[in-house]
Amino acid sequence: MPTLDLEKIKKEIIDSQLWRSVFRGGVWKDTPRDRAGHIIGNVWLHLHPVKLRPRALKWTYTWGMGGISFALYLLLTLTGVALMFYYRPTIGLAYRDIKDLEFAVTLGMFLRNAHRWAAQAMIIAVIAHMVRVFLTGAYKKPREFNWGIGVLLLTLTLFLSFTGYLLPWDQLAIWAVTVGTNMAGATPVLGNEGPLGALVGMRINNDVRFTLLGGTMVGENTLLRFYVMHCVAVPLLVGILLILHFWRIRKDSFSAAPYTATEEKVDVWPHLVKREYIAAAGTTLFIMIWSILQNAPLEAIANPNVTTNPSKAPWYFVGLQELLVYFDPWIAGVVMPGLIIVGLVAIPYIDTNPKGVGYYAWKERPFANTLFMLGVVMWFVLIYIGNSLRGPNYAWYWPWESWYMLKAAPAPTWSVFGPKGAGSYSMLIGIPLMGAVSAAWMLLPKLIQKELDGKKTMGAFLGLVAVFAAAGLAMGKMGAAEGGFLLFFLGASFYFGFVLPQRHIRALDWPRYLVTMILVISTMSVLLKMCARLAFNIKYVLTIPSISMNF
């Protein structure tokens, strides 16, 4: 019996005309040239560089989140296309088609679950990727532009998920989208309920919300619009930006810093490619098992006459919805998210600290890391509150409390400055006062030349607040809870909004300093407004009803 010479067979296959016509390069000899050729000669792999720094291979450095996000995007495209074969975007058929997917289509439920869960996972992966890139300073020169593309991709990921949320056409869908799109109606100038909107002739049937919905309420047109945006328009845009994103990573080179000045780079094939494969496979496996064990939610068919109580936006926007408790929609739904996006894009241009590129550097970048992580933590804490602690009538329910227990209506609120505020001229006092306080807060950290001692300053401030609270307590105007709120929120705002900037960014040039302070103070305003509401039932600090502008 002749022995089977595998090597010979392999060589013959690879040298055959068929193989050579499909794959470039000859017999694989695992030389550096072969490995480079593998990357360069393959249309899918050639977006990678040929070599990269060893640090860029470390899971602890990359978390694999960029790759996982892309793997999820591919998974979503695959499952999404499969679902499109069964789904018709009309209000008469959409819900029934989803029921068919659940009950009659082979693997229909699995596909729908996988699509749903992959979409949720992608949001988390994209945010985690952004956090990683921030913490390793990977957005700094020369990668500012690519960071901007990344922020756009994050926004589009959220928008993709949001447009997909409507398609099942159940109660969950229409009310989540109603909450989300009503915020658009509060856009300053462009929305009919936003400040200055009425002034420029915005009505319910010609504003930006109308454009988004194709009507004055979520209906047939909205479903079609969201379907087209979800399946065609946004994925195309994301695809284009992804190519740009990957190409810039290659051109700007991976951010990972060398361990030693003389270190050799390593081959991308196989070191990076195998890691990418494992990340993608693990992600797919995770989504598959999740989809087998847990079904995607589907509530009763959409009914515009029956509002669910509570109605909640998709979870990733629930943080903004939670802000609606404290702010008017134009701030919570438009200005805040706008500032987050603009602020994120601006970060590489205002962060002039040259240190901490390509490695984790808490000590070298205390201000940037602290403020960024504060923002991320606030975002998720607000999501947790809105998602898990809000029950019927958007009242506060602890996790151990039944939603079938009735809660007292919130205490009546009041406004400090404005027509119904304290005193008849309070608006005239309020506007300059608010302006003066903001300006002072904005300028003081830079104007105080000498670096303040953090502990002493904080101690003095907290002491002052404590004295104030004690006075309130003694006069019976305040309880212990109110005092606690004051200490916590004022203390946090003072530390993050004044002490930290004073110590770390007062040397920044004026334009960068001012932009940074605007972002910092906006973040702190959330904490301060929460404090005002929780401790003193203040609805607005300043209200100008004639142009529906309330702060």
Binding site: R96, K99, D100, E102, F103, A104, T106, L107, M109, F110, D170, Q171, P270, K274, R275, Y277, I278, A281, G282, T284, L285, M288, I289, S291, I292, L298, E299, A300, N303, V306, T307, T308, N309, P392, S402, W403, Y404, M405, L406, K407, A408, A409, P412
Partner: protein, 461 residues
């Protein structure tokens, strides 16, 4: 673990997960039911073949049995186009599928194998499954192919399968003549009881009746979103709490209606009479307590009748059966007055035959103590809870015939309703204006009868 191993393991696991997903999908819950039905039906045919004397018939039966045994597994459905029904019930209930079981009869006694009962009756013959589907009468989720979702015993499916006599409500959807219809006797009795106890005095049905409370013309469509779980948890049926979740089929509209008849509605919907949760006190349910008047079986009949009150389902006109017009009985003025009293549901508030006004929260009654600021909340609640609608014979003596007619025509707005406590909760139950709803002749006779039962003033004035 090396990457080579991880590569192999992850690929193997992905494959395994896919096989798992596919298996879970393939071995759907309906499959064993359908398979078992085929085997059972084939067994029956083989037994028949064994005792069959004619060899041709026997071999035909054997061939049929073989075909049955090897029938393909499939999702079966009835598409009732006119009624917009897509019912996959016959996927498991194969005995009720005309294509598998052409006679629609079998000897199986157990669900889901047994055939539909009474297929020879005029009732079923008039409602062929292919035209009506299953859910038109039985309700439930026709599209589903799993046990609990299909019967509607899940969260977010608000029309679960109708149980017992409640199914007669489905007759009411098309048959306006259900009161004389064979097979709809319970629903007909329900309507009689509904009218006898005066429900229509406050609850109009499709605009016919009083406007004090909600029109029940579409009560079967009431979304659960509008019924608080807080209220559902207060319901006691046969002395037992309803199980504490939506999705075990106990929280449904039938039990919600029943809850109002076998519980004191004030206990089911207590609201907030002392403003503990709101800035203003809010009245509990204004509905009187019918528990002593209506038995459990009677309540079930009313529920069956009201289960047919739906507007959500679009039923083509040709499916409707009109009722014969109802004739007014020819009676003397006094007797007709008494008839009119019952016809418009006055007894819903003023009591059967006007003998005793029913409970009206925070209304005034002779049994009450005078309002006192110092009373505890419990005492005040007790006093408010024994407030009552006027007992008519006590009052009628002070009215002339014309005054009485005017009073009924105008009603008593909530703002004029007498209250035991002025700080008590709002809104008060009020008397609607009956002008235009009760004809002139009927009003005259009603007043005549009311004056005839008025207590005479014996005090000498």
């Amino acid at each position: 673990m090396s990457y080579r191993k991880a590569f192999i393991v992850s690929n193997a696991l992905m494959l395994a997960a896919f096989v798992w997903a596919f298996a879970k999908d393939f071995y759907a819950p309906w499959r064993p039911y359908q398979a078992k039905y085929y085997q059972m039906a084939a067994d029956v045919m083989e037994k028949q073949a064994a005792v069959e004397k004619d060899p041709t018939k026997a071999s035909n039966l054997m061939a049929e049995a073989r075909k049955m045994r090897h029938s393909p597994m499939e999702i079966k459905q009835i598409i009732a186009v006119d009624l917009g029904r897509f019912d996959r019930c016959v996927t498991c209930h194969v005995g009720m599928d005309e294509y598998t079981n052409t006679t629609l009869k079998n000897d199986f006694t157990e669900n889901p194998y047994k055939a539909h009962p009474k297929v020879d009756t005029a009732l079923i013959k008039a409602h062929p499954f292919s035209k009506f589907g299953c859910t038109s009468c039985h309700s439930g989720q026709g599209l589903a192919t799993q046990v609990e979702p299909a019967h509607g015993w899940v969260k977010h499916w608000e029309k679960p399968m109708l149980k017992g006599v409640t199914i007669q409500g489905s007759c009411v959807k098309c048959h306006d003549n259900f009161e004389t219809l064979k097979g709809a006797e319970v629903a007909a009795a329900g309507k009689k009881l509904f009218n006898r106890h005066g429900c229509q005095g406050c609850h109009a049905i499709n605009g016919r009746g009083g406007v004090t409370s909600v029109d029940l013309g579409d009560i079967a469509d009431k979304p659960f979103e509008r019924i608080s779980g807080y209220n559902f948890m207060r319901v006691r049926i046969d002395g037992k709490e309803l199980a504490n979740e939506h999705h075990d089929s106990h929280w449904n509209i039938q039990n919600w209606i029943l809850a109002h008849l076998v519980n004191d509605p004030v206990e089911v919907t207590p609201n907030d009479p002392f403003a503990h949760l709101n800035s203003e006190p809010i009245s509990p349910s204004g509905m009187p307590d019918f528990t002593k008047e209506i038995s459990r079986a009677e309540a079930d009949a009313i529920v069956a009748y009201l289960s047919g009150m739906t507007k959500e389902e679009v039923i083509p006109y040709r499916y409707h059966v009109a009722a014969a017009p109802v004739k007014e009985p020819a009676l003397s003025a006094v007797a007709h007055g008494k008839f009119v009293y019952a016809k418009y549901g006055c007894q819903g508030c003023h009591g059967l035959d006007a003998k005793q006004g029913r409970r009206r929260f925070n209304g005034s009654s002779n049994a009450q103590k005078p309002y006192d600021e110092k009373m505890s909340e419990t005492e005040r609640y007790e006093q408010m809870n024994i407030g009552a609608e006027p007992t008519l014979p006590d009052l009628m003596g002070t009215y002339t015939h014309e005054e009485l007619v005017k009073k009924i025509e105008a009603g008593v707005p909530a703002s004029d309703a007498t209250r035991w406590s002025l700080k008590g909760p709002m809104p008060m139950v009020y008397m609607p204006a009956w002008r235009g709803k009760i004809s002139k002749q009927e009003l005259d006779d009603l007043a005549t009868w009311l004056l005839s039962i008025a207590k005479k003033d014996d005090s000498g004035f």
